[in-house]
């Protein structure tokens, strides 16, 4: 099927006319670079990053609505707004959405957009795989949420402890959607992680050694490595659950001798690294923001890097602190107590380094800085309550109470989310070419800070008073009433705050349309390479890949030592920044295949649940897409080529182009190997290297 003929040699076009290329007799190679269609076929890491961010904010809205519904039910004792069953679905879907469909993809948005820029690359190593991971994530997320209309959402908690998730106790299709939807987002994250790991290792600009990479890129790199090794474990767990539910396997069937702790171990071996997958990118974001607004380099750069790596390693040895109440024995409990206390050390190092960066700095409290400081303070509170969980006797008391809920919201909301919101304000001008209003931004920050503490602060007290989590209501007279009401008021303050954020985006965008104010390439007098290109970033990133000789390379091009050894400004950011001239740069061509393959996967998912014939159809789509992808040259040999003048551009930055060509080259094994017996390993059989190097617009 795959071997439909296409010209074996690149077409020698001498006229410059766009030729129609049908690699499989299927699609015409997409050509558009503007309009909504171009977003469907794009392989540009920046556009993919923006789509990750937009999708994450959409799911944040869904998860937020679920949160409000939960708090409405709990506003007063004895309420019966919904059944216990619906309540179970609400808190399960809230947790799953916020973790897998909001915080992970928000991190992915920043990492996709920024990591190639910060290391001086033109794109990621495998641009089409990058597109595939976004579409696959979106498909998984949407599939998960369609469960609301197909018999009810998942109802076993985001942790989905066996045997509650078996067909006996959860007869709706909700948990099937959970298992298959998360499997898809897992594939998406795995593919994306492999891609970014290779990108960071292989596509660094000349001179950009690992210890000259910005802290954000470092934290992103550690995150991606955690994903690479954590995701297969949850994949196994989800496979076992799927086989149990759909094919009557016995993995969690206690009457057949199963051990429900198997699920807990598999889940938390993934689940605890997952916690660091959520927080490390946000740590990276504030590590970029704080130096800029303190006008000092990051304090103790190597310590920042190595503490991040240490967290990455130690994160694998603490999972069973989620299971102190499971009766796994005193030795394990003692060991995991100790390791959990130890992992607080590298985290503490980070917090102290941020403080030391601010210490003695010229602080400016613009919105990004406020959010960054918000992360440092709120995460510290969450971190401290985390240390109390390391004390096993105390944790046994707190297990399954609201104290736990308070803790993880302080680290995930107060930590990760505040950091990412700060990052949005910080990089918004770089991405969209206009700055968000600082005044509304400050309103956003203070309202969210107050709302957040109103919502989750009282949960500490409720938990210590013994209020169990996951209960759809509570009885009057236990002292829970007042703090629950406060918490519900808090969630509305957060809602108002996020509406202010939406208004800010809308207002700033409108203001920009009416009266464009160019923020310039470097609105904050920042330090790393992404500020060395125009805002918004041109499609090709760098006109010429910079040669790096310092940590904070961009800053060192603006400031140099004078005769007295004092650092003085020698150039403005605008002077140092590149002009954004795409001459001589050839970019990877857009493609339909990632989208097609990503559409096939949810079809398989629905098919497994409802009709195996449908699953076969989905499998067919994936296989066709795999072969189409494999036989499609990564770089369209016919795209935008004029007369061949390969030697015309062989100046300094050819190496980087070659990297990019290589990057977009043939190694698309992974989705095929991972997802399906899909296709030819190594794609792109045509398109000789020299042909690919021709200019994009001559």
């Amino acid at each position: 099927m795959a071997i439909v003929e296409r010209p074996t040699a690149p077409l020698e076009l001498t006229t410059g006319e766009p030729a129609v290329s049908r690699p499989l007799g299927g699609f015409t190679r997409p050509q558009a670079t503007t309009g909504w269609k171009s977003w469907l076929t794009t392989v540009d890491h920046k556009r993919i990053g923006v789509m990750y961010g937009a999708a994450a904010l959409f799911f944040f809205f869904l998860g937020g609505v679920e949160a409000v519904l939960i708090r409405l039910q709990l506003a007063a004792p004895g309420q019966k707004l919904y059944s216990a069953d619906l309540y179970n679905q609400l808190f399960t879907m809230h947790g799953v959405t916020m973790i897998f469909l909001v915080v992970i993809p928000l991190g992915a948005a920043f990492m996709n957009y920024l990591m190639p820029l910060q290391i001086g690359a033109r794109d990621v190593a495998f641009p089409r795989l990058n597109a595939f991971s976004f579409w696959c994530f979106l498909g998984g997320g949407l599939m998960l949420n369609t469960s609301w209309f197909l018999g009810g959402g998942a109802d076993g908690g985001w942790f989905a402890y066996a045997p509650n998730t078996g067909v006996t106790f959860s007869p709706s299709h909700g948990m099937d959607f959970y298992a298959l939807g998360l499997q898809l987002t897992g594939i998406a994250s795995l593919v994306g992680a492999i891609n970014l790991v290779v990108t960071v290792l292989n596509l660094r600009a000349p001179g950009m050694t690992l210890m000259k990479m910005p802290v954000f890129t470092w934290m992103g790199f550690v995150t991606q490595l955690l994903l690479v090794f954590a995701l297969p474990v949850i994949s196994v767990a989800l496979f076992l659950l799927t086989f149990d539910r759909l094919f009557d396997a016995n993995f969690f069937n206690v009457s057949e001798g199963a051990d429900p702790l198997l699920w807990e171990h598999l889940f938390w071996i993934f689940g605890h690294p997952e916690v660091y997958i959520l927080i490390l990118p946000a740590f990276g974001v504030v590590s970029e923001i704080i130096p800029v607004f303190s006008r000092k380099p990051i304090f103790g750069y190597p310590f920042m890097v190595f503490s991040g790596i240490a967290i990455g390693f130690m994160g694998w040895g603490v999972w069973a602190h989620h299971m102190f109440a499971s009766g796994m024995g005193p030795l394990s409990v003692a060991a995991f107590s100790l390791s959990t206390m130890f992992i607080a050390v590298p985290t503490g190092v980070k917090i102290l380094n941020w403080l030391a960066t601010m210490w003695g700095g010229k602080l400016t409290f613009s919105t990004p800085m406020l959010f960054a400081v918000g992360l440092v303070t709120m995460f510290t509170i969450g971190g401290l309550s985390g240390v109390t969980h390391a004390v096993a006797p105390s944790d046994t008391q707190q297990t399954d109470t609201y104290y736990i809920v308070a803790h993880f919201h302080y680290v995930i909301f107060g930590g990760a989310l505040l950091g990412f919101l700060g990052g949005l304000y910080f990089w918004w001008p770089k991405v969209f070419g206009y700055t968000l209003s600082d005044k509304l931004g400050k309103w956003h920050f203070w309202t969210i800070l107050i709302g957040f503490n109103l919502t989750f602060g009282p949960m500490h007290i409720l938990g210590l008073q013994g209020m169990p989590r996951r209960m759809h209501t509570y009885v009057e007279g236990y002292g829970f009433d007042f703090w629950n009401l406060v918490s519900t008021i808090g969630v509305f303050v957060i809602t108002v705050s996020m509406l202010i954020f939406a208004a800010n985006i809308l207002k700033s965008w409108r203001g920009h349309r009416v009266d464009p104010v160019d923020p310039g390439p470097d609105p904050w007098d920042a330090r790393s390479l992404e500020w060395m290109v125009q805002s918004p970033v041109p499609a090709h990133n760098f006109d010429e890949v910079p040669t790096v000789s310092h940590l904070d390379e961009f800053w060192h091009r603006k400031y140099q030592e004078n005769d007295q050894g004092k650092l003085v400004r020698v150039a403005t950011g605008a002077e140092v920044a590149q002009a954004g001239d795409p001459t001589g740069v050839h970019l990877p061509s857009p493609s339909y295949w990632p989208l097609v393959m990503a559409i096939g996967l949810p079809v398989i998912g629905y098919g497994l649940i409802f009709n195996l014939g449908l699953a076969a159809l989905g499998g067919l789509i994936v296989v066709i897409a795999g072969f189409g992808w494999g036989y499609e040259p990564a770089d369209d040999p016919e795209a935008h080529h004029g007369p061949h003048d390969h030697d015309g551009h062989d100046d300094g930055h050819d190496g980087a182009e070659a990297e990019l060509d290589e990057a977009s080259g043939n190694g698309d094994e992974t989705p095929a190997a991972e997802a399906e017996p899909a296709g030819v390993a190594s794609g792109s059989p045509t398109a000789s290297a020299s042909d690919e190097k021709a200019s994009s617009d001559d």
Binding site: L240, G257, E669, T670, V680, A681
Partner: protein, 212 residues
Amino acid sequence: MTETATAPQIEDPVLHDKGVVSHQTSTGVSNEKLAMWVFLGSDCLLFGGLISTYLLLRHRVPPGHGPTPSHQFFDIPFTSVSSFVLLFSSLTMALAVGAIHRGDLRRCRTFLMTTALLGSVFIAGQVYEFTAFVKEGLGYTTNIFGSAFYTLTGFHGVHVSVGIIFLLSLVVMSLRGKLSGDKAETVEIFGLYWHFVDVVWILIFTIVYLIP
């Protein structure tokens, strides 16, 4: 990682002049090969999870709930032969990589075909074995041992099958002249995958069949 930190990153002018720039990366390893290594690292954890699951569950079958793992149940001579066939395919794979490095496409193709054939023999053996076990009363849903056994060996079988499809695709590519020059590394990268799958089988064979 520390080695790469100190590795020189500056372009090699000699390579650049020869137009061999396409293999220049910060680490010196091509993107595709590095991606394969990272993927295989990830796959280790997949099999790690499946093998742990099997080890935990295999002896937990309640009395009277069907077959349990034992040397009487497994046909060890048969599986040993099919394991040997699979391991032998690693040799032919290595020969294929050697051939493509010498630029001997014909021989490479022959060895790739041989590898695919040996892999198929292994899969055929697995299908036969599964059928025999079902006849002996061990279905997928019979008991916890059945579920764990078929899932673990099944995942490995899927890996081998995907490998066979890749092998055949490589053969087709080489027939159409698309496996020469700088694409030769594709064979080597696929070889990594194939060897990995074989190594995993050594583990599975030992743990599932040999250790009672």
